[in-house]
Amino acid sequence: MMLKDVNVLLSDVSDVSEMLPAVAAWKFAGRKQAFTILTWLFSISAPVKIITLILARNNIHNLEWFHFLAMWEGCMLFAFYSKVLFSRVVWWGVAAIILIDSLDTLLLEPITTFNSFAWSVNTLILLCLGLLTFYKLYTSSQLIAPEEDPMFIINSGWMIYFAGALFTYALGSKILFSTTLDFFAESWIIVSFSNTIKNAVVCYGLYRIGKQ
């Protein structure tokens, strides 16, 4: 099996695995505080990922879906983290993400290309919020075993995804349109891998909510 085949396979697995946290969120998260935002996030992102997969399989252009996905994921995750950190959704932050992503699409990376800039900026912002969430968990007066704490597990899943995907997103437009045959051309595998791990870990975190 060539690296290209592994890349395609893992990319498919990554897209389909988005259904795992979507189902877990519907089943376990319910209306519990910030987690309900995750339910909304996965309820939209999972079917969109499946749509992009079907389109790709049929050789139909699907990059415009990634423009929508970057904005949706960025906004919902910003809302989720702000709710966790400040107990309320910071709407101006959500508006800023919408503005940045829109300006990127309108001025820098047209809808027919991959929006590397938007994905990178979103990921960088969310990475910082994820680190702040860890800090909040350390200093929290509530002591819960981390392996039993849904917030710790879910945040760990997202952090692995952000760390794995940031540089790949930053170079996304070059990777996806690369004509070379080296590892760089197939390095989308890093995003697929980290996204699959994220889906599994977040799914487990959501399952822990149901256990509580």
């Binding site: 860890f134 692995i160 952000f162």
Partner: protein, 261 residues
Amino acid sequence: MNEAMTLIVGTSALLVMIIFVILSAFLYQRRLLKKQREFAEIETMLKKQELRTTYAVIRGQDEERKRIAADIHDNVGGMLATLKIYSDLVIARDQDDELQRLNRKINNLVEDLSVNIRKVSHSLDSGTLTNFGLSAALEQLCETIRASGKIGLRCIIDLPTSPGPDASLHLYRIVQELFTNTLKHAGATHVRFEISEIKGDISIIYEDDGVGFDVTAVGGTSMGLRNIQSRTEKLGGEISIQSSNTGTTFIIEISAVHEAD
């Protein structure tokens, strides 16, 4: 090639950093949890020690009363008996009528004193129970436990008529044993005790929120439980015990306790 290197090194560095952060958070919280568990254990041990002290105070009071009773009975009683013998001798030997009359008076007084000392000694031995009845004795027992402040206690004593002395002593010892078991073994924070009498039928409901015990396993081996069972049987009563890890309930029902007494 440069872009590939940037991608690999950047992603790897970021992944290592994130994994380090997650690991640090995990280890930090585990350490805090461990400390918290240790504190909880120390608190449990201190609480157990306090309960043991309460139990020792109750036992100590009982023992002290018994010791005073024995001292009065043996020492003062013995001396009074000797005094009476001397008085008898004086009566037998002295011919003077007036002195004999006075000596008889002394003799009678010594006899009365001996009887009274014996009464005081016996009542001290069985405490409030003999003097004031079962209700007062149980209330005093509840008050002693409540005053220790180590356990939340709700006592409901509804005994319109007091059972006979033997039945009262059995019932008192049963309740005392129930409290002793809770203080010694249960690690409970709250106890509810209720005793009521209707037409001679007495029922006791005793509940604690302790760790409970295996009724089938402990029932056969525990001296305290056997004591409760045998006293209940002597009164012709029935006992039912329900225990789980959230508490224990004893229900003792004794029919027509006056007749059994």
